[in-house]
């Protein structure tokens, strides 16, 4: 499988601020890739470098097999971009803007697809730019992007203004894009969205990639929550490696365990006789929080 996107050791500074400090990012063709990080981590800067809007200070960037700075025009015909903050021209209608973005990608949008998406996103394309709300401005950009049938969709927090119903429409559109073999880079703060949509995620912090892999792989590195009701008292649970936050109240036990150390813990619980057991894999949110908390301590 080829990579739609391969970034290694990307650096970008603005004056004394190091926005990107050795970022790595690999996105395989045909996958939906989550791009996570706290505010100011460098996600948008990285995306702008990928789009050839900013010039990298150092590092290698390959986008759809080309150089995003040198081959910007040719590459942009094959991708669609939705920024987190969509600004429109006050006196242009939404429909005009959709067609403009389509033409700027080379070919205009397919009329049937455009009409279908406008319908699904419940967008009124005749309204002028100044009268759209934030969510509706975002819909204009989303319709333009999904109508384009581009090979790569670069979405920078695309749902920050959408209502839950529209968010669902957005998720369907992303799934359809993947089913047609498109690649999606999705930067987001909405972890539930990333969790349901993305095949793999990369987490950036302070301009560096701190974690990258499939959700299953990432979960493997983190803790599973276990709560059990036991027949007897298990001995030495707190001495097992990888066990954290052990709380025992009579027959009830709650603990968290590093996911790769789960087996000995289960064995110990079984030995004590299990009446009920729930084991919850970490949510992305826990993963995210824990990761940052850890790095915070480390730095």
């Amino acid at each position: 499988m080829t990579n739609a996107l391969a970034v290694t050791g990307l650096h970008k500074s603005f004056g004394r601020t190091h926005a990107l400090d050795g970022l790595d990012l690999t996105v395989a063709t045909g996958e939906v890739h989550g791009f996570l990080g706290p505010n100011g981590a460098g996600k948008s800067t990285a995306i702008r470098v990928l789009l050839g809007l900013l010039r990298a200070d150092s590092g290698t960037v390959r986008l759809l097999g080309g150089d995003p700075w040198a081959d910007a025009v040719a590459l942009h015909r094959r991708l669609a971009y939705v920024p987190g903050d969509v600004t429109l021209w006050r006196n242009l209608s939404g429909g005009e803007v959709i067609d403009l973005y389509g033409r700027l990608r080379g070919t205009g949008p397919d009329p049937a697809r455009r009409a279908e998406l406008i319908e699904r996103f419940e967008l009124d394309p005749t309204k002028k730019g100044r009268t759209y709300s934030k969510g509706n401005r975002q819909k204009v950009a989303l319709v333009a992007a999904f109508a384009s049938d581009a090979e790569l969709l670069v979405l920078d927090e695309p749902t920050s203004g959408l209502d839950p119903l529209m968010e669902e429409v957005f998720r369907d559109c992303v799934r359809e894009a993947r089913d047609r073999g498109r690649t999606v880079l999705l930067s987001s703060h909405i972890l539930g969205e990333v969790e349901t949509l993305c095949d793999r995620v990369s987490i950036v912090r302070k301009g560096r990639t701190v974690e990258s892999g499939s959700l299953a792989e990432l979960r493997h590195l983190t803790r599973t929550s276990v709560s059990a009701e036991l027949a007897g008292t298990p001995g030495g649970l707190d001495r097992l490696p990888g066990v954290h936050g052990l709380r025992a109240e009579g027959p009830k036990v709650r603990l968290q365990v590093d996911t790769d150390k789960l087996e000995p813990v289960l064995a110990a619980l079984l030995a004590a006789g299990v009446r009920s057991l729930t084991s919850t894999p970490p949510t992305l949110e826990e993963l995210f929080l824990r990761h940052y908390a850890d790095t915070e301590v480390a730095s």
Binding site: L51, A72, V73, H76, T87, R105
Partner: protein, 522 residues
């Protein structure tokens, strides 16, 4: 060429966005010049009358500083003299506005980011903006050509190209300025500063030298337009100079734009303080307005110093033939000429100050429509107090810049400091009247607030070229400047000053009342 990919689409976007503004600018610029033969021809219908006008105007240095020397007393020559500089400056202003709107403003708002994510070459946005400016200038030039062709095709063509060419020189100056800084407002300021400097250089050059070939005039692109000498033995090679400047500036802007990040600039933005000391709406408004006020103040002071230095030479006899001497004596001799020169300069500053004042008032309108005022008005801040924060810099600031221009004039002239300063401040009631028109429009018809620029522009046009057209008194009197006493040298008529001040106060009060009653424009 991939660097230009998408230029066609972006140009269509620019023309679509400006489908009203572009024809309007072309019509005003070209139409005004094209109307010249009709208006001037009626006034000076004999060769003798035209020769008389040409001789007296060339003899008068304050007239030369405004319009340049008269190079030919044919009707075409008089039109080129009276309207050429004005048309060139109008074309420059139109080009400046159009280019900023489609370059730095697009980047500042973030719209360029999504455009540039399309198949858009790195030179395409700048090229589209320059093509939009070219549309304005070409349309204006065609109007000039059509209106003046009857006076001689060569002269009409030369004047049309000189005016359109000056527009393109400033379009490319603006394109360069747009590479330098991240703020569209600052780009406009820089480009307008260059235009102001070019005008002052030409005015200074022509004021001291009736041949039009002073070094100062040749340093100024506005002076080049004049030195194309339309209808007076055209110097076609000057058009090559203009074309070379346009080409060089375009290439430099291209080189800069290809080397920088989208949204970034060559002058870095410095970090601001971590803690805020702004104490309220007034402090915020002052913070937003002080940069512009500082720029205008500096420009007025420098302008005053330059023109003040020209006063002594203004009354020098031009030429030593009997005819010139006769005209000189008829105009009142040395003292009257000195006063006339000072009065002309003072009224020029007065008219320009209205542009500052209108801009400062409309800054509040921009704050409102951009949504930045929304959280302020949602806080414990009344509309009037919020508005006052912007109106104080507008009204007091225009007094300050006029005082600075008077100070500059007085310092380098070296006589009658009190009279010169007083004459400068006597322009204030007219400036305030135009500012109060802006307040009224903003308060009562916010969607038409931009028409305040039209009002200020109309008064500038009436004051600059109106008298020569012999327009009916009723039309000239529309401008508040027509009611000001001509100072220094004239009688200090207090009544019109007081009446204008009262009118300004009434219009401002009406505007603020309307502002309090209407919906906020969010």
């Amino acid at each position: 060429m991939t660097a230009l990919a998408g230029t066609g689409t972006l140009t269509r976007l620019a023309l679509r966005r400006d489908r009203l503004a572009i024809p309007l600018w072309a019509l005003v610029t070209g139409g005004l010049v094209a109307s010249g033969p009709g208006s001037l021809g009626g006034l000076y219908d004999t060769a003798a009358a035209r020769a008389e006008l040409a001789a007296s105007m060339t003899a008068n240095s304050s007239m030369r500083s405004l319009y340049g020397p008269v190079f030919s007393d044919s009707l075409g020559g008089l039109v080129a003299w009276r309207f050429g500089t004005f048309g060139a400056v109008l074309a420059a202003v139109a080009s400046l506005i159009v280019v900023v709107r489609h370059t730095r403003e697009e980047e500042e708002t973030g719209r360029q980011e999504m455009l540039s994510a399309g198949a858009v070459g790195r030179r395409a946005p700048l090229t589209a903006a320059l093509l939009a400016a070219l549309a304005v200038n070409a349309a204006a030039a065609l109007l000039v050509l059509a209106g003046l062709a009857g006076q001689g095709l060569a002269g009409a063509l030369a004047l049309a190209l000189a005016i359109g060419g000056t527009g393109m020189v400033f379009a490319t100056v603006t394109a360069l300025a747009a590479q330098l800084t991240e703020s569209a407002r600052l780009v406009r300021g820089i480009a307008a500063g260059v235009l102001g400097l070019a005008f002052v250089l030409r005015a200074a050059g022509d004021s001291g030298d009736a041949s039009g070939d002073s070094v100062l005039t040749w340093l100024s692109p506005v002076g080049w337009a004049e030195n194309v000498r339309a209808f007076a033995g055209e110097r076609w090679w000057v058009l090559l100079l203009i074309a070379a400047a346009v080409l060089a500036q375009t290439l430099l802007a291209y080189a800069l734009t290809a080397r920088r990040d989208v949204g970034a600039s060559f002058l870095a933005t410095r970090p601001g303080p971590a803690a805020g000391r702004l104490t309220g709406a007034g402090a915020l408004a002052w913070r937003l307005q002080r940069g512009s006020l500082l720029g205008w103040g500096l420009g007025f002071l420098l302008g005053g110093l330059v023109f003040g230095g020209m006063v002594e030479g203004a009354a020098d006899l031009v030429g030593d033939n009997a005819k010139a001497r006769e005209i000189f004596e008829r105009m009142g001799g040395q003292e009257a000429l000195t006063d006339a020169f000072l009065a002309t300069m003072v009224s020029l500053f007065g008219m320009l100050a209205a542009l500052y004042a209108v801009g400062a008032v409309l800054r509040a309108h921009a704050e409102e429509t951009s949504g930045r005022a929304e959280p302020l008005l949602a806080a414990s801040l009344g509309r009037l107090r919020w508005a006052a924060g912007h109106l104080v810099p507008a009204f007091a600031g225009s007094a300050a810049i006029l005082a600075l221009s008077g100070l500059g004039l007085a310092l380098s002239y070296g006589h009658d400091a009190g009279a010169v300063l007083g004459a400068s401040l006597a322009q204030l009631p007219a400036v305030w009247t135009l500012a109060s028109v802006a307040v009224l429009l903003w308060g009562a018809v916010p969607r038409a607030a931009g028409a305040a620029w039209g009002a200020a522009g109309l008064c500038l046009a009436l004051g600059w070229i109106g008298p020569a057209l012999d327009l009916p008194r009723a039309v000239l009197d529309l401008s508040p400047y027509a009611h000001l006493p001509r100072l220094p040298g004239g009688d200090v008529a207090r009544t019109p000053l007081l009446l204008l001040t009262a009118l300004a106060a009434a219009l401002t009060a009406a505007g603020l009342t309307a502002l309090r009653r209407r919906d906020a424009q969010l």
